[in-house]
């Protein structure tokens, strides 16, 4: 397994290099001048040109690129062009909030989605199945920001069970959970809709296998068949989807972060893009690439835990 991990990490380094190179050049092709964004619309061209020179943006692209790559390798990701704050520090300040939201949403999604998906598969073409399939379709179709506002209206405004906005001041667990509840439910329900459909399809496929038919013929109680013989086998596609979705979720949680006013990587990257904050965008891409690589690696390793037939070479 260690050679498998090492090989994967090797691929990850190549992937990181390719992504960073692509991002470096693409953001600089985008129209829009970070110096103009920083100085505001009243600045003269002289001032804008002077700032561009100070930021090193007037140097040849290849020089900027080599400086950037050297910086990445030495751990210096530069400072935000807009705020002047170190990129790594800015990312690390909001990264825990994103990880927290993502993991709790994932947990909620799995706790709801997996049992629902199995139940739906077992009760195929009966009322529970129709209900579950309709619910998951609604969950997938509903825009995240609409469900977020609805949650706020009901639980924060009408019932007053939760705050509208994250205070950012909660130091105790109760406050943090209250801040986290609605955004996690919002993302968790969407994730549950996804997982439900995958779990259902996967379980249906397993249930159609010969060994399941044999087990039933031998008179084993159906619930035991599900629990002992089907559950883990049906989880491999679910793990794949969850792993893929996790990577997407970390970037796509921006709408939830905005509506619930939570800090996060999504907001950071949208802000950096709007303001042409090249250094922040580059730093964010390093993080995203690392997250995706790590999540994919963990997903692959999870297969081995679920299915003892999987061997790492």
């Amino acid at each position: 397994m260690s050679s498998f991990v090492i090989r994967r990490l090797g691929f990850a380094i190549v992937t990181l290099f390719a992504v960073l190179t692509l991002v470096f050049f693409i953001v600089r092709i985008l129209p829009g001048d970070p110096a103009m964004v920083i100085l505001g619309d009243q600045a003269s061209m002289e001032a804008i040109d002077a700032l561009r020179a100070r930021l090193g943006l007037d140097r040849p692209l290849i020089v900027q690129y080599s400086d950037f790559m050297v910086g990445v390798l030495s751990g210096d990701w530069g400072t935000s062009l807009v705020s002047g704050r170190p990129v790594i520090a800015e990312i690390l300040k909001v990264l825990p909030a994103t990880i927290e939201l993502t993991l709790v949403s994932l947990l909620l999604g799995a706790l709801i989605g997996i049992p629902l998906g199995i139940w739906s598969a077992v009760k195929r073409n009966r009322l529970p199945d129709y209900f579950t399939r309709l619910s998951s379709l609604i969950g997938l179709s509903f825009p995240a920001f609409v469900s977020a506002i609805l949650l706020l209206l009901v639980f924060a405004i009408q019932l007053r069970w939760f705050p509208v906005i994250s205070s950012g001041q909660g130091t105790n667990l109760v406050d943090r959970l209250r801040d986290l509840a609605l955004p996690a439910i919002n993302l968790g329900l969407i994730m549950a809709a996804y997982i439900t459909r995958v779990a259902r399809s996967s379980m249906l496929e397993v249930l159609s296998q010969d060994y399941v038919r044999t087990a039933r013929a031998k008179g084993i109680i159906f619930s035991q068949i599900i629990w002992r013989h089907c559950l883990l086998n049906s989880m491999i596609p679910v793990v794949t989807v969850v792993g893929l979705y996790l990577g997407i979720l970390i970037g796509n949680s921006v709408l939830t972060e905005i509506v619930f006013n939570r800090p996060g990587l999504g907001k950071l990257i949208v802000g950096a893009l709007n303001q042409r904050d090249y250094t922040m965008l580059q730093g964010m891409m390093v993080i995203y690439t690392l997250i995706v690589v790590v999540v994919n690696l963990l997903t692959d390793l999870t297969y081995g835990l679920i299915d003892p037939r999987v061997k790492y070479k």
């Binding site: 985008l30 129209p31 829009g32 001048d33 103009m36 964004v37 920083i38 100085l39 505001g40 619309d41 009243q42 600045a43 003269s44 061209m45 002289e46 001032a47 002077a50 100070r54 400072t79 807009v82 705020s83 002047g84 704050r85 800015e90 300040k93 909001v94 506002i149 706020l152 209206l153 924060a156 405004i157 007053r160 705050p163 509208v164 906005i165 994250s166 205070s167 950012g168 001041q169 909660g170 406050d175 209250r178 801040d179 972060e257 905005i258 509506v259 619930f260 006013n261 939570r262 800090p263 996060g264 907001k267 950071l268 949208v270 802000g271 709007n274 303001q275 042409r276």
Partner: protein
């Protein structure tokens, strides 16, 4: 959290700002409304505009107790107030700090506003509490440069030198509130400056919360989690917020004026008859109704109403589609014309332009709108790529700033000294430049008036309306001043503000 925050609200002010995060918290670099609105409560100038007002007519002492100027207007001497303390451990604010501050504001390496101080030849401390500014040419509006706005914010030398790059993350001023904490994408916390020279503030803490979602901000205000909210510049917002019990809404100066700039170098706009036709085709009354008469004001001149030097004594172009069509026919376009514009996707501005498009169409003017993302919009219009440019801006409320930035030929886009002259207007250069250095206020006003008349006669641009600034707050909050306007676009939260029981 809602209940506990309401109980704590007697000395804690929660502000909801429409922004994702803080930018630069250095007053000589901050250019965005959210950053300026926050820094407003932390800094003083040598003079200030009376809290609650936005016009330079209300200038009064701030860190300077008094001032004199020489007969030729080139030398200004300011006597500073004694005993004013910088926040934290940085000691008393004295002449050395004032000199440092003005020099820093005038330094294009350190300041976004260096150009404003172009006429400052030298600034020196002529005593521990006396500052002398020597100008290279008269600047009658010098006091306006020294209010706590842009480069006029007074910084403390020791703090800036000690903190270096960290200064923009830990701003130090002399104002009623001090920086305490920053949580990324969440809030900046300010605490009361107990040593403030006008008296310790009654409000002990301010949480300036970054809430980019309009809906979330409104809901947070409704639930009581925020006490003071930045509003969407829209009548519907005012109507909706007013329904929340115990809410006060204020519509403040200065307004951001929406202007349609016509690029006179691009045919057919090089023909004055076509430009006049555009001016007659736009229905300003309808535009004001569209945006909301409670939050907008019709504009007739290229200087916003309320700015020092504004005049309505100019050629007017009332809405008259028949006349517009006749002018087009006279210009050789009996079947109408097509104009093109590059425009931002920002919803507030885009809806205005779409309404303009509709009114132009009735006069045979077809406006093709190409929408691009906001930063791209700013880049492309400055590359002189757009035939028509819709721009919405507020500036320091004297005519000189608006006229210089938008209508002086030195500001034409695509040139080394470019600012925002999108129309390539050059008809009033002599009046604009003469007014800038004219020390006789009557003559200055006359020059500004002539400049506006010439620009409107030429139809370099078509002003539409002014969008005023909107804020609302819980009526338990008393700001202690009558709020008519605020240069930094946020209500004045001073030592006088408090929560009523």
């Amino acid at each position: 959290m809602g209940l506990s925050m309401a109980n704590a609200a007697q000395t804690t002010l929660n502000v909801g700002m429409g922004s994702a995060d803080a930018g630069k918290l250095d007053p000589h670099l901050a250019t965005t409304t959210p950053d300026k609105g926050l820094l407003h409560w932390m800094y003083n100038g040598l003079v200030r505009i009376k809290p609650g007002q936005a016009s330079p007519q209300f200038i009064e002492p701030d860190l300077a107790e008094s001032w004199t100027s020489s007969a030729d207007g080139l030398t200004w001497t300011f006597k500073l107030r004694r005993g004013v303390q910088c926040h934290g451990k940085y000691g008393e604010f004295d002449a050395e700090d004032a000199v440092f501050s003005i020099q820093r504001a005038a330094n294009k390496e350190k300041s976004s506003f260096a150009k404003d101080f172009g006429a400052v030849g030298s600034v020196e401390a002529t005593g521990s509490y006396e500052v002398k500014i020597t100008l290279t040419e008269p600047v009658p509006s010098l006091l306006g440069l020294l209010v706590p706005y842009h480069g006029g914010n007074m910084v403390c030398k020791d703090a800036v030198e000690e903190l270096g790059e960290d200064y923009q993350r830990s701003p130090i001023g002399t104002g009623p509130f001090m920086f305490a904490e920053y949580q990324p994408q969440q809030y900046v916390k300010l605490v009361a400056n107990k040593d403030y020279f006008r008296g310790a503030p009654k409000i002990k803490e301010i949480y300036y919360r970054y809430i980019p979602s309009d809906a979330s901000r409104d809901l947070a205000f409704q639930s009581g989690e925020i006490d003071l909210i930045y509003g969407k510049q829209d009548q519907t917002w005012v109507d909706r917020i007013k329904k929340i019990p115990n809410t006060e809404v204020v519509v403040m100066e200065p307004g951001e004026m929406s202007v349609i700039h016509l690029n006179m170098t691009m045919p057919p706009l090089d023909n004055p008859l076509v430009r006049q036709a555009v001016a007659h085709a736009i229905d300003r009354d309808l535009m004001v109704q569209f945006k909301g008469p409670g939050v907008t004001r019709k504009s007739v001149s290229v200087v916003p109403e309320g700015y020092l030097g504004y005049t309505s004594d100019i050629t007017k172009y009332p809405h008259d589609p028949a006349k517009a069509k006749a002018l087009l026919a006279e210009a050789g376009f009996p079947n109408g014309v097509t104009l093109k514009t590059i425009h931002t996707t920002l919803s507030g501005m885009l809806s205005t332009m779409e309404a303009v498009q509709a009114t132009l169409k009735k006069s045979g003017i077809n406006l093709e709108i190409t929408t691009v993302e906001h930063a791209t919009f700013h880049a492309q219009i400055r590359k002189d790529l757009s035939q028509v440019v819709h721009y919405s801006a507020a500036r320091f409320p004297i005519a000189d700033v608006y006229l210089t930035q938008f209508f002086d030929s030195a500001s034409i886009v695509g040139t080394p000294t470019a600012v925002t002259n999108f129309s390539h207007c050059n008809v009033a250069d002599s009046e604009i430049r003469a007014a800038r250095v004219e020390s006789d206020s009557t003559k200055q006003l006359a020059l500004w008036k002539t400049a506006q008349q010439k620009i409107m006669d030429t139809v370099c641009a078509v002003p539409i309306f002014q969008n005023l600034q909107l804020w609302a707050w819980n009526s338990s909050l008393d700001l202690g001043v009558d709020v008519k306007g605020s240069l930094n676009l946020s209500p004045p939260v001073t030592e006088k503000a408090y929560f009523k029981n």
